[in-house]
Amino acid sequence: MQRGCVKDVMAATAPLIEVESLSKSFGAVRALQDMALAGYAGKVHAVMGENGAGKSTLMKLLSGVFRPDTGSIRLRGAEMAFHHPRDAQKAGISTIFQEFSLLPNLSVAENLFLGRERQDGRRLGVAEIRRRTREALAALDLRIDPDRRVGSLSVGHQQMVEIAKGVLADASVFIFDEPTAALASHEVETLFALIRRLAGNGKVIFYISHRLSEIFAICDDITIMKDGRFVRTVATAETDVDEVIQGMVGRPIEELFEPRAETLGPVLLKAESLVGEAAPKPLSIEIRAGEIVGIAGLEGQGQQELMRLIAGFAPARAGALTLADRRIEGLSARRRMAAGIGFVPENRKDDGLFLSLDIGANMATAEIARRRLLGWVPGMGARIAEIMRQLAVKAPNARTPVVDLSGGNQQKVVLGRWLMAGARVLLCEEPTRGVDVGAKREIYRQLRNFAGQGRGVLVTSRELPELIGLCDRLLVIRNGELVAETMAREATEDDLLRSALPAAESEAA
């Protein structure tokens, strides 16, 4: 029945690559069961599912990293058996993983021709390599100097080089694994243009991502997976975000969010014309007890600067900041945290977690940071266990290293840190970045609970539906200025976007 579904959607031509009843187990864990997938030439095909749904396993089977237990992979009708990633590459499957396979100290040209020197029995000359590299890059409309050291390129350009490598190898199937995770927004545009170009040349593209907006922007078909199994394949034009999410989690999107606050308490945090080094325009914000306030805006409009100015990582030059009737604009970040500000940075791995320490140590840091340097640290086991239970952190105990946790559970640990420290106002950047849909729901619930205890939350997010669903009130930031305010229950993505776009005001003025 499942396979019938695939055929219904695309009965027109034969698939270029087809996967049937593919299964893979790791010990007792059945990572993939009876999976089906069909890629058609010229189509961009999204593969979606929560973390652990089996997307990565499927892609690693296709790229020869793992070997399937049962089932078949057919490329142009011929059955494939990959014993090594090299086999898949030779067969024409190019995978662009999140971590690139490029050598940073070699030039772009050298990377592209690495291992290809003896193709026709003799080495390629330097001039020829450079010429063919220039051609390959030009074919993709990329302006990258073939002599540049790869390590000196931006992440976006490195990715382009990786793609160019696949093009040079004459690959017919391209697999992208969360390709935009490390890209700036303008680089995403370039990537999309490139993907469209590849599709236009008759390649099959599998696109794995959590970001629904991207998938709807670029993909023709969507295959949804859940718990290692095929759920369904749909044409993007015939579905919508709600349906896709429902397929992945098994419940509709509205149920992702908790009900909003009914009554709000007094003003907890109040910024009045606050000005900082990196935030030259005066900012005024109020957050009430029980309230979740969201900051919407295009990327890089001053969201980070605003958060860091309130948290105290950038000193205030003018204006006032009051936390529950106490002036704190003159305090250091450390003092402000002791006064009750909590900060969840956007980049969890780099700025949030202590990866070699266990859950307990990770959760206790903010609480301990308030203590005297030579004070005795009391046992906190009971308190940590209580918070882990409260946040439903999925781990055997507090001694589990945070490295072993999923993104969602890691984020809960960072939230737990501020619960434990008794923060009164939580500044939270991108609360669900790199977190799957199921864990998102859990994090929304925790943030709402946090606010429900008479505390306040300020969040920034790139995802407008998330801000609208999660928050009580929304502010729009544009070019370092708060330009609009709306109640979340009345907000629409269109209105928010209109306020966020730079053109609007210049036209008015």
Binding site: A333, D351, F354, A361, A369, L373, V377
Partner: protein, 309 residues
């Protein structure tokens, strides 16, 4: 179970293996009197390594411990202190270590310079000052108290062993019981996350370096007492050895792990191995090679263990 095993410092397994090996090949090696000699020899290194533990756990490194030891040795052996009470001489020696650590700490935190470069630089400066101070000819006037600390015994037990144990307790309390230790491990694992959690990262790193300087000076005092005279270049081999002991004790370059007990076991293992090598007739170059290998292998094994566990 595997996690429990890999959580224990590599030095413990090494120590067990070396003891079994010694029991079969050189049984006299494990006799109590000989172990007491080893203890006396291990104590100065043990204290220096404990100091090194703070900086390594804090994602830093102190390459000036050798120069500090040499400098302390020149101070306490200098004739100018004749007639002063030994406590004053000891206080001056320890202050020297404190100042060296402070300079390291300030340069590393304020200038954000690489710890390797900074501590190598201070080492060179301290060595130079030492030469100037001693006029190139180290003295041999050493207070009896320091000699007693270095080579004296109470009953069968060497005094320096007791001093080492006391420093071990202090280091253990600082690292595992006080706020400071939590700061050190947090800042060592991820300085950025530590800052965002409100931990005073710079102060912590400064204190780690000061502690390393103080511990190095204390180890230098014991070593001076053991040697009994002033000597140029005393303690030069303690730089590598102290780092080896810390790594064997379960710390990793990059910080965030390790501890006082691990470092003490690491020191014990290192001293036993070096002495066993002597017994088997391996000379200094061979020992250096072994020490280098030990650092590399211990670091690799421990990394693997952490990844796999």
């Amino acid at each position: 179970m595997k996690r429990v095993l890999t959580a224990l410092p590599p030095a413990l397994w090494g120590l067990a293996a070396v003891c079994v090996f010694a029991a079969f090949t050189q049984p006299q090696f494990l006799s109590l009197p000989f172990l007491m000699i080893l203890l006396r020899q291990a104590a100065p290194l043990g204290i220096v390594a404990l100091g090194q533990t703070f900086v390594v756990a804090n994602r830093s490194l102190d390459l000036s411990v050798g120069a500090t030891i040499a400098f302390v040795n020149l101070i306490v052996a200098h004739a100018m202190w004749n007639g002063y009470p030994p406590a004053v001489v000891i206080a001056i020696a320890l202050s020297a270590g404190l100042v060296i650590g402070l300079v390291n700490g300030v340069l590393v935190t304020v200038l954000r310079a690489s710890a390797v470069v900074v501590t190598l630089g201070t080492a060179a400066i301290v060595t130079g000052i030492g030469f100037l101070y001693s006029g190139g000819a180290p003295g041999n006037a050493m207070p009896e108290l320091i000699k007693w600390l270095g080579r004296g015994r109470i009953g069968m037990v060497p005094v320096s062993g007791l001093v080492w144990a006391a420093f071990g307790v202090v280091a253990f309390v600082l690292l595992r019981r006080l706020t400071l230790g939590r700061y050190i491990f947090a800042a060592g694992d991820n300085p950025s996350a530590a800052t965002y959690s409100g931990i005073p990262v710079n102060t912590t790193l400064l204190i780690s370096h000061v502690l390393s300087g103080l511990f190095a000076a204390s180890g230098g005092l014991l070593l001076s007492g053991l040697v009994g005279v002033g000597s140029l270049n005393l303690g030069a081999d303690y730089i590598l050895s102290s780092i080896a002991a810390v790594i064997l004790g379960g710390a990793v370059f990059g910080g965030g792990a390790g501890g006082a007990i691990g470092t003490m076991l690491g020191t014990a293992l290192l001293v036993m191995v070096l002495n066993l090598l002597t017994v088997f007739g391996v000379d200094q170059p061979g020992k250096l090679i072994v020490q280098g290998l030990v650092i590399a292998v211990a670091a690799v094994i421990y990394q693997q263990g952490r990844r796999g566990g």
